[in-house]
Structure formats: structure tokens, C-alpha cells
Symmetry: C2
Subunit: 298 residues, 2 copies
């Protein structure tokens, strides 16, 4: 593994430990809820979003540790969205990260509440600061909490999921598809990059460059997701494959075709990498993450 | 109406206007979600929680306007919990505040997402501050956001709902019942009182007195709710009556009997009013709210 790869693996292990420490133990009251929340959050996964936060903070010269609360918060938000999306009333999925989904194990009611708890806990982690703290750090934390809430809200992740559900079985044009994806998966990914940079004190040109990177990466992620759904099987995906087609969902593959989707992913990767150029060597970890997003197989 | 009553009614109108202004219009993308969120949040109701926030801020000499973002946030949290509690997988209720529940109008998927959006928006409203802001106000906002998140989380409202669901059809003893209620309804009511006071800069004795008030009021609220569920009909309640008995839920009435429940409510009201005594006339609005909670008929 390259030095960069090792650094990312080190970050991933730190994220796992921080996530574990961010939740009450399974034995704490109410045990059922804590079991469900831990089952969902600590199920492994690539931890792309926390790694983006840490790499983005690093890219502007900040210590990754300062960004760890945000790293935990974005993974909680991501997991909350998976738990709710998998519910019978939504995508009705039985399998996630190779394991039975939360509602299959704990029932629908607890799964709804476990998602709620993860969403709430994400903000709790983010707004809890040890005293004494200087005004500038307080201001950054509040700003990042507002950024995250906006990324989750009615014009972000949650809004995108609503339009995605409404578009099932409906002919969707390319602009609509892009709007859904920018909201449903792109908003949180962009907030990871921008949030890490803001916590690190970035401004001006650095922030603008990272915003371009985040937008390209966010869209690339979804394009690749659509390619994988169309081409991989469930064993490799760790979730039900071919679901998009079965649900007659519009994807980059159904709207543009497989070849065009692959060309789009490559173009977005190039755009993301170009945006990082002004950051020099400090942007290398972000560059590696972008390559992994586009070149992943599952 | 008394002067105090008129002041409360003025606050209530200000809260309605602030809630309305805190959400995007129904026409904004995605329209379905914004319609569902506005339908649920702007359905009237007594607005007890926002009024507690404003009255608590007032009781420590602060301007009610400074506490309005928290007032909106707590009503959003309250509404989120109602929307999710009413879902078929939970209490499966068709009627709320005299109107069809969110999932009856918009379907289950949108109702789940509307609840999610309200929870997220609550934090967004709370952590969004206009620049420039002094460090002390930043610190108070973060502290109150953490308090609110804790009141909602796994040992607060959401945790209480989990244990409440698990206790259906099970013999529940008095300490368990009290733990459920302290979490499910008490935690948010206490946070309203404490949060309003913290935003107003309260500390020491004032805060301690208001914590006693908030705890007594929170428990009294649930005891009275149980009494009303056992004695009122659906028309007056605006929601399905007798549901607790039908679901074989433990309540103060089923565990202690109706007379004892009424005596408990009166004793808690006395405790709440006694706690306010050191605040003098500034505590009068909180006193009126406590009386209304215990003496309400529906």
C-alpha cells in the first residue's frame, strides 16, 4: 500500500474508534435502541464521508483531529439516511453492507427511531464543545452545523429522496435526474468537503477550489453508483443489485446509456483533480479519494 | 382575558408568524415535501413548548425575541415526534389536532421524510446566526443546541418512545412508567424551560429554580394527558381517545387510578408554582402556563 493509502487506512481506523466512542454502550437504557443504532452505524463500510472531512481539513493545513466531530456527524447522517431509505415504505431493502437491514432485525418502529436518533446525535456531536473555546472555533462549529443541516434538509438529502421516490416509474429527463442526485447524494458529499475546510479555517480561493472538487466528486459518486447497480451483482455490492431497473428508477445509465455514464464519471474525476491542483501536495489525499470513488468496483 | 393571558396570546401569534417564516413556501422544490412539512407544523395547536421557551427567557429578564429561534426549534421537534409517532409502524393514528395525520394525507414515505426534515430544520434554525455575533451569544446557542439534541436523543424523547412501544401489553411498574414519561415528554419540556433561561443568560439559583419548575411541569403534563385520554372523547381531544387502553398501554391512570392521578397533577402544579416564587413577578407567565397545563380539559 502506498504511503497515502496507509494514511487513509490510519484515518479510517481513527474514524471507527471515534464512531464507537460517540454512542452509548448497548447495555445503556434503552438497550434496544442503542443496539439498533450501533448495529447500523458500526456495520463497516468505506467511511468515504468521514475520510473526505478529514482529508479536506488536512488539505488546508488543519489537524485532522479537529475535524473528527464533523467526520462522525456526517457518517451518522449518512447512516440515518440509509436506515430510513431501506424501510418498507421507501425502497424496502433487506440487505445493506452485506447484512440484514435495520428494520429486518429490529422491526420498523425501532428502525424509524434509530434513524431519528442518528440524525439527532449527529448534531449533538457537532455542537458539543469542551470549554474553554475561543470565539473563532465557536463560530466555525456553528457555521458547519448550519451547513450540515442545510445539506440534510428539504433542498438537500431529504428533498432529493422525496423527488427520487416520486420519479419511480416516471419518465425523467436529464436535468431532473441531475437535480435529484445533486440533492440526494451530492449535498452531503459537498458538505463533507466544505465543512472540513471551514473547520480548518479555509477561505477565499482554497474554499472555492474545494467547492469545485466537492461538486464534481458528489456527482461522480452517483454516476458510478448507477453504473455499479447496472453491472455488478449483489454479492459484490453488499446490497440488492439491479434494484434501480426493477423499481423503474431513472439513473445515469438508463437516461444516458452505460458508455456515456462511464465517460461522464471520467470527466468528473478529471475536473475534481484539476480543482485540487492549486493546493499542491496537501491535496493528495483528496485526490486519492476521488480516484477511489470513480475507480471502485463495489 | 387577563393582561397575562393577552401577553401569552400575543406570544402565540408571534410564534405562528415565526414558524410560518421558518419554512420555505409550498411552491418551492420539492413541493410535496414542503406541503407535508407545512401541513404538519402549521396545524395550529396550543404551542405550549414555544410559549415555555419565551416565558422562561422573560422570567430571567431577557427579551422574548432572542429566544424565538429556540421557540421555533422546539415546536419543530415536537411536530417531528408526532408525525413519526402517528405512523402505521408506531401508534398508527389517523387523527391529529382534529385533522388527518400526515401519513394519511401524503403517504408513509413522505411522512417519514417530513418528520426527518422537521428534525433537521430545528437544528438549522437554532445554529443559524446572523453576523456579527459576540462570543457569549455563540456559546449560548451552541449550549442550547446541545441541550436540545440531548433532550431529543436516545435517552430523551426518542428513547422514551422506544420503551413506550416496548411496554405495550406488558405489566409496567410505577418507576418504569415515570422513566418513560420523563424521557418521552418530560425531556423536551424541561429543555424548553432550561433553554429559554440559558439563552437569557440565567445561571446559579435562577436556573436551579427553573429546572425544578420544568421537571414538575413535564411530569404534570403527561399525567394530565393520561387523565384526558381516559376521560375525554375524540372530538374534544382532536385525536383518537381511549387509545392507551386499546393499546394496553400503561398510563398514570391505569397504574395509579384516576383519583391518584388527579392528586399527583395537583401536587406537581403546586411544586412548579413554589419553584417560581424566587423569580417574583417575572415568573408569572410561566405560572400561568403551568396552571393551563394542569387545568386544561383538552
Amino acid at each position: 500500500m502506498s504511503d497515502l493509502g496507509e494514511r487513509l487506512e490510519g484515518y479510517r481506523r481513527e474514524v471507527e474508534a471515534a464512531l464507537d466512542a460517540s454512542l452509548p454502550p448497548e447495555t445503556a437504557w434503552p438497550a434496544t435502541l442503542h443496539r439498533a443504532v450501533r448495529y447500523s452505524l458500526l456495520a463497516g463500510g468505506k467511511r468515504l464521508r468521514p475520510l473526505l472531512v478529514l482529508a479536506s481539513a488536512e488539505s488546508v493545513g488543519a489537524a485532522a483531529a479537529d475535524a473528527m466531530p464533523l467526520a462522525c456527524a456526517v457518517e451518522m447522517i449518512h447512516t440515518f439516511s440509509l436506515v430510513h431509505d431501506d424501510l418498507p415504505a421507501m425502497d424496502d431493502d433487506d440487505l445493506r453492507r452485506g447484512k440484514p437491514t435495520c428494520h429486518k432485525v429490529f422491526g420498523e418502529a425501532v428502525a424509524i427511531l434509530a434513524g431519528d436518533a442518528l440524525l439527532s446525535r449527529a448534531f449533538e456531536v457537532l455542537v458539543t464543545l469542551p470549554d474553554p473555546v475561543d470565539a473563532e472555533r465557536l463560530r466555525r462549529r456553528l457555521g458547519v452545523a448550519a451547513l450540515l443541516a442545510s445539506a440534510v434538509g428539504t433542498t438537500g438529502l431529504i428533498g432529493g429522496q422525496v423527488e427520487d421516490l416520486e420519479s419511480e416509474g416516471v419518465a425523467v429527463d436529464a436535468p431532473t435526474l441531475e437535480r435529484i442526485h445533486r440533492a440526494k447524494t451530492g449535498a452531503l458529499l459537498r458538505a463533507c468537503v466544505r465543512g472540513g475546510a471551514l473547520l480548518g479555517g479555509a477561505g477565499g480561493d482554497e474554499l472555492a477550489a474545494l467547492d469545485v472538487y466537492g461538486a464534481a466528486l458528489g456527482l461522480a459518486f452517483q454516476v458510478v453508483d448507477d453504473i455499479l447497480d447496472a453491472t455488478e451483482d449483489a454479492t459484490r455490492l453488499g446490497k440488492t443489485a439491479g434494484k434501480d431497473e426493477a423499481a423503474r428508477k431513472a439513473t445515469y445509465v438508463t437516461v444516458h446509456g452505460l458508455d456515456a455514464a462511464r465517460r461522464t464519471a471520467d470527466a468528473l474525476l478529471a475536473e475534481a483533480l484539476t480543482a485540487l491542483a492549486p493546493l499542491g501536495p496537501r491535496g493528495e489525499t483528496l485526490a486519492l479519494l476521488a480516484r477511489r470513488v470513480v475507480e471502485r468496483r463495489a
